[in-house]
């Protein structure tokens, strides 16, 4: 007993000594933890607002709880149902198109053997990634304007007689958003796939050549299986973000005429929460989005667990 006690005492002493020695590390930790609590953890208490009739003067802990009233209002609002559809549709379309483009670009670029061609193309392909969405939409707006290149080409080849106002018709909106996303991110997203292709054993390609496989067959039977793990991991990581993908470009390109297809959950939150000051309704919409996102991640992960070795957690 006495021995144990002294041992414990010595342990304590050692810990204290170690703490003293690490006082700088502990001090920094304390400061950043306080910072983190304020800026990252405190806002989490804001979720409570979704179940309240939040009034700024009463604060979060003084406002009246109203249960699921705000959610009931949301799901009875036809606009919100459309907003959910838009967010999902654009999220899925963007995920599919950008993934296809990135894989395609990586495979095609990998077929170029000469570095002096490959390098400049890759550098050019990164460019749009570094531009802001404002700049991208501004550039896009020029190209799609009545005097822009798209209308110019369409008229020149006789497809149309009069310039199309692309931003005034709902049917063009989703394709424009998908194109904008591909334009901005294809080169950047391809980096990881190019790295995965580089990691494939060259001996496999040589063996296939000797067996008489052509380039397409090599891609199909060697490159595709080679990048499959990367593809699945990225897909898993990105499906959870499907609902997050809809803000900047939709906000910047949206206008009154295409509102029915351009509004997303984030825009709805901004509109109700910030502009109309209905903080509770905005928070409820945001909470719904987060909950669905987490559900999607969990479902995707369990599907992946069942059918392949890839998973996130």
């Amino acid at each position: 007993m006495a021995r144990d006690k002294t041992r414990k005492k010595m342990d304590m002493k050692a810990t204290l000594k170690e703490m003293k020695h690490q006082k700088f590390l502990i001090g920094v930790s304390l400061v950043v933890v306080v910072y983190g609590i304020i800026f990252y953890y405190w806002p989490l208490t804001g979720w409570l607002m979704a179940f309240q009739n939040y009034k700024p003067k009463n604060g979060i802990f003084g406002s009246k709880f109203v249960g699921l009233d705000k959610f009931r209002f949301l799901f009875e609002d036809e606009v919100f149902i459309k907003v959910i559809r838009n967010t999902f549709a654009m999220g899925v379309i963007n995920l599919v198109t950008t993934t296809i483009m990135a894989v395609l670009f990586a495979i095609v670029l990998n077929e170029v053997r000469r570095a002096w061609i490959k390098k400049p193309i890759q550098t050019i392909s990164y460019l749009p990634h570094f531009l802001s969405w404002i700049v991208v939409t501004s550039i896009l707006h020029v190209s799609l304007s009545s005097t822009g290149i798209i209308n110019d080409l369409l008229m020149r080849f006789g497809f149309i007689d009069q310039a199309i106002n692309f931003f005034a018709h709902p049917k063009y909106f989703w394709p424009i958003v998908a194109f904008a996303n591909c334009w901005k991110e294809t080169g950047w997203n391809a980096i990881i796939y190019l790295a995965a292709i580089t990691a494939i054993d060259p001996a496999l390609y040589e063996a296939a050549s000797i067996d008489g496989a052509d380039r397409l067959q090599k891609i199909r039977y060697i490159t595709f299986p080679g990048i499959k793990p990367t593809f699945l991991i990225l897909l898993l990581m990105n499906v959870g973000n499907v609902l997050n993908a809809g803000f900047e470009v939709q906000y910047l390109l949206g206008n009154g005429l295409v509102q029915s297809v351009s509004q997303t959950i984030d825009i709805y939150v901004l509109k109700w929460g910030i502009s109309q000051n209905d903080y509770s309704l905005g928070t409820a919409a945001g909470l719904f989005k987060s909950a669905v996102s987490i559900a999607i991640i969990v479902i995707a992960n369990s599907i992946a667990k069942k059918y392949s070795e890839q998973r996130l957690f």
Partner: protein, 299 residues
């Protein structure tokens, strides 16, 4: 069959595929570059002449008037000043904060190492969302000030993890020998780890700088009423959104060309906004790619 004979019998499908590769990449480069170059050409073209259309890669009626107009706009100057200032301030403070935190969590013998890491990793996955964050900044008195640009995002778990991964690769023996010489942890951070972490510092500094340069949403959300804290991106956004509202109401953009900011002026602001990035990114891209791969490994 020798090597030469084998080469000759290249399947015809390979030739077709080769053509596809060339066409695809050619189109890819054209589609990526053309809109950018077209915008540059427009920015150097006379405003009224541009309404006729038909300007491609070169201005038809060369004019510097767009840039003169833009540089005479007070809000553009304010925006440019604030954008440069916020980029510098945020890059310096955020780099220092993330580096120090990364240093702390990468010390193998630090007693709260794993708890502190977890504390920050969680912030990558859960967040309060737009409105609670907005209310927080309002209550802290950050809205309507310059500080809203650099204080809230100072520590980011992603940037911190990229740096941690790099610092974990630095041999521990260096730290031990410095400690034997009586160096404290801050000295080790300043004189040993930081000089060795220069590449990852460069990467993260660039991440932060580009992010800051390109941000517009914070200016709109928190400083809408404060014109003295506007940013370049936000000014461009205002020009653009006035056009979007127009194209959403008038059926022909041509008729409204006189009432809205001419397309050439917008082009000039766009070019001015993207110019620093376009000029710098080719030299800096390898740092970005490094950051992406380090970050990816850790994910």
């Amino acid at each position: 069959m020798n090597e030469k004979e084998y080469r000759v019998r290249k399947p015809i499908s390979d030739t077709i595929f080769g053509i596809f590769v060339v066409v695809f990449l050619f189109l890819f480069v054209v589609i990526t570059l053309y809109p950018v170059l077209n915008t540059v050409a427009l920015s150097f073209n006379d405003g009224i002449d541009a309404v006729r259309g038909g300007i491609y890669l070169w201005p038809r009626k060369f004019s510097l008037k767009n840039y003169q107009t833009v540089f005479a706009m007070q809000n553009i100057w304010t925006g440019a000043k604030i954008t440069v200032l916020r980029t510098v301030v945020a890059t310096v403070t955020s780099l220092f904060a993330n580096a120090l935190l990364a240093f702390v969590v990468s010390r193998k013998r630090f007693m709260f190492k794993s708890q502190l890491s977890l504390f920050w990793v969680i912030t990558m996955y859960v967040n309060g969302g737009m409105i609670p964050v907005f209310l927080l900044y309002k209550n802290l008195g950050l809205t309507g000030t310059f500080h809203v640009y650099w204080v809230p995002g100072m520590i980011s778990a992603f940037n911190m993890l990229v740096m941690r991964t790099y610092m974990e690769g630095i041999p521990e023996s260096l730290e031990e020998s410095a400690q034997l010489d009586g160096a404290g942890y801050f000295t080790i951070f300043k004189d040993i780890i930081s000089p060795l972490s220069k590449p990852v510092y460069a990467t993260v500094a660039l991440f932060i700088a580009v992010w800051q340069w390109n941000s517009w949403f914070d200016a709109m959300l928190y400083n809408r009423m404060k014109t003295e804290y506007t940013t370049l991106q936000y000014e461009l956004m205002k020009l653009l959104s006035s056009v979007m509202q127009q194209s959403g109401s008038a059926d022909s953009a041509k008729n409204s060309a006189n009432t809205i900011t001419p397309i050439t002026i917008r082009a000039a602001v766009t070019v001015a906004t993207m110019l620093p990035i376009v000029c710098l990114y080719p030299f800096l891209q390898r740092y970005f790619v490094t950051g992406l791969t380090i970050g990816g490994v850790k994910e």
